[in-house]
């Protein structure tokens, strides 16, 4: 009943097998996840920090950013980046015409997923910083540290450790959300899965394989973060080494 021979068969264009086609999709998925994770972490940490300062307009700007990216569905955000933004930003439109289409789709997907996820990371970073006792910040200032130094040496090292569990699930969400890049035609794993289903009518084999691959990636990320959590645990705290 379970016939895996299909994965060894050649695709209609003849230069690869279905298994390799799915793996090439997985490669794009992993590249997209890695790049947009970096964008999201950098922007998200910055925004999260800014939202905990006492500069009112900076806080308002950070809040607006988070609300903007949280209240529009990811699919619609992909359409906005692909169809709407280039119409208003001439350099981007020129890139759309001149760049290799796959590269351009990957670039837009990284921007879209990165910004979308940055809003979620910002929310976590903010709540991590706010969960620290007030005294930590005051102690930093009392030692004569500047605001930037207080964040760098006192607040953030603890805040990032505290938010490792929610960061784990946001990173796993990023893997799942990357499938939506299919909507603008990026040849990632879901795209290849559908292609295989449509061309061979072996939907269950194709989707079964994709399900396994997605679960494996999500699980791998989960394990990496669990390792990071153990490696960075501070002795003396719950969950820390004794």
């Amino acid at each position: 009943m379970l016939d895996l021979g299909i994965f060894g068969e050649e695709t209609p264009d003849g230069d690869t097998t279905w298994a390799m086609s799915l793996l090439s999709g997985l490669e794009y998925t992993l590249a997209l996840v890695a790049l947009s994770w970096i964008v999201a972490m950098v922007l998200g940490s910055l925004l999260g920090v800014l939202r905990t300062t006492n500069r009112r307009w900076v806080v308002a700007l950070g809040d607006a950013w988070v609300e903007l990216f949280r209240n529009i569905p990811l699919l619609v955000q992909f359409f906005l980046w692909y169809f709407v933004v280039p119409a208003f930003v001439p350099p981007l439109k020129r890139m759309a015409l001149e760049m290799d289409p796959t590269r351009f789709q990957l670039l837009l997907s990284v921007v879209c997923l990165g910004l979308f996820t940055s809003a979620r990371i910002a929310e976590q970073v903010k709540s991590g910083i706010l969960s620290l006792p007030r005294g930590q910040r005051m102690a930093g200032y009392a030692l004569g540290l500047t605001e930037a130094q207080t964040y760098r040496h006192v607040l953030l090292p603890m805040a990032f450790r505290i938010i490792i569990p929610p960061l784990t699930s946001e990173s796993m969400n990023l893997v799942k959300n990357s499938a939506v890049a299919y909507s603008i035609g990026l040849a990632e794993l879901f795209f290849r899965t559908r292609e295989m289903g449509e061309m061979t009518f072996r939907y269950f084999a194709a989707f079964g394989a994709a399900t396994v691959l997605y679960v494996v990636v999500a699980f791998a990320i989960n394990r990496v973060f669990a390792w990071v959590e153990r490696a960075t645990a501070v002795p003396g705290y719950l969950g820390g080494k004794r």
């Binding site: 529009i72 569905p73 699919l75 906005l80 169809f83 499938a179 939506v180 939907y203 997605y214």
Partner: protein
């Protein structure tokens, strides 16, 4: 690309509103169905019958580690097969993606609601269950009359926040050619070559509705906090 064409927006409004009403209908039914399914799953996960707890945990973890888009397509293929098996018909019945989506979202969101409900149940002090048994209630009565009413009130804000997420996730059915809000906008956009106007409009509609709902949840959160 030229100027924004407001005329094309006005003419397409009735079609868009029909799409929006499908989106809302799917959201509401999936939220209610998903909550009920989630409560059953949560009770199964917390059950002392080990196989039941194990199966429920496996189901919830699988659903939560696979992209929703993949799940939507899975059920698009599976629902007709399941219905054929259930009814014993010779051929799988033809049901469109718009109807299989109800099954998809109830079963998928159930896994997320399950974890919320489980956290809600576990936040109730143990003494409540002990007291319920002490006055002679059985397990079902204790859950229905004592534990779940308190748990559900505690987790109402989280359930509603998850429902806003669901409201946005529903947009993915547009990729199966279903005429929800995004699907309706996409169809008009293709017909009139007005992609910029249509997708901007959809983004604005979604933003306004989601933001208003999230403000509502915040207000509710404050009111519940005062009661406690």
């Amino acid at each position: 690309m030229g100027e924004f064409d407001w005329g094309s927006i006005a003419g397409s409004l009735p079609f868009l509103m029909a799409g929006l009403s499908y989106t809302v209908q799917l959201t509401v039914i999936a939220a209610i169905g998903g909550t009920l399914w989630g409560i059953l799953l949560a009770l199964a996960r917390l059950s002392s019958i080990a196989p039941l707890a194990w199966v429920a945990a496996a189901y919830v973890n699988l659903m939560r580690s696979v992209p929703l888009l993949l799940v939507i397509f899975w059920f698009y293929f599976l629902v007709p097969v399941m219905l054929q098996w259930a009814s014993g018909a010779a051929y799988p019945p033809r049901i469109g993606a718009d109807r299989s989506a109800y099954v998809t979202f109830i079963l998928f969101e159930g896994a997320y609601f399950c974890e919320i409900v489980r956290a809600g149940i576990q936040s109730i002090p143990k003494g409540q269950l002990g007291a319920a048994y002490a006055i002679g209630l059985n397990y079902a009565q204790a859950m229905r009359l004592i534990i779940l009413p308190q748990a559900l009130r505690n987790m109402l804000p989280v359930l509603l926040t998850q429902t806003i997420v669901l409201f946005q996730d529903v947009s993915l059915v547009a990729l199966l050619n279903v005429t929800d809000l995004v699907g309706a906008a996409g169809k008009i956009a293709q017909r009139d070559s007005r992609l910029v106007e249509m997708y901007t409009l959809v983004a604005v509609i979604y933003f306004v509705l989601s933001y208003a709902l999230s403000l509502g949840v915040k207000v509710l959160n404050r009111r519940i906090a005062i009661i406690r």
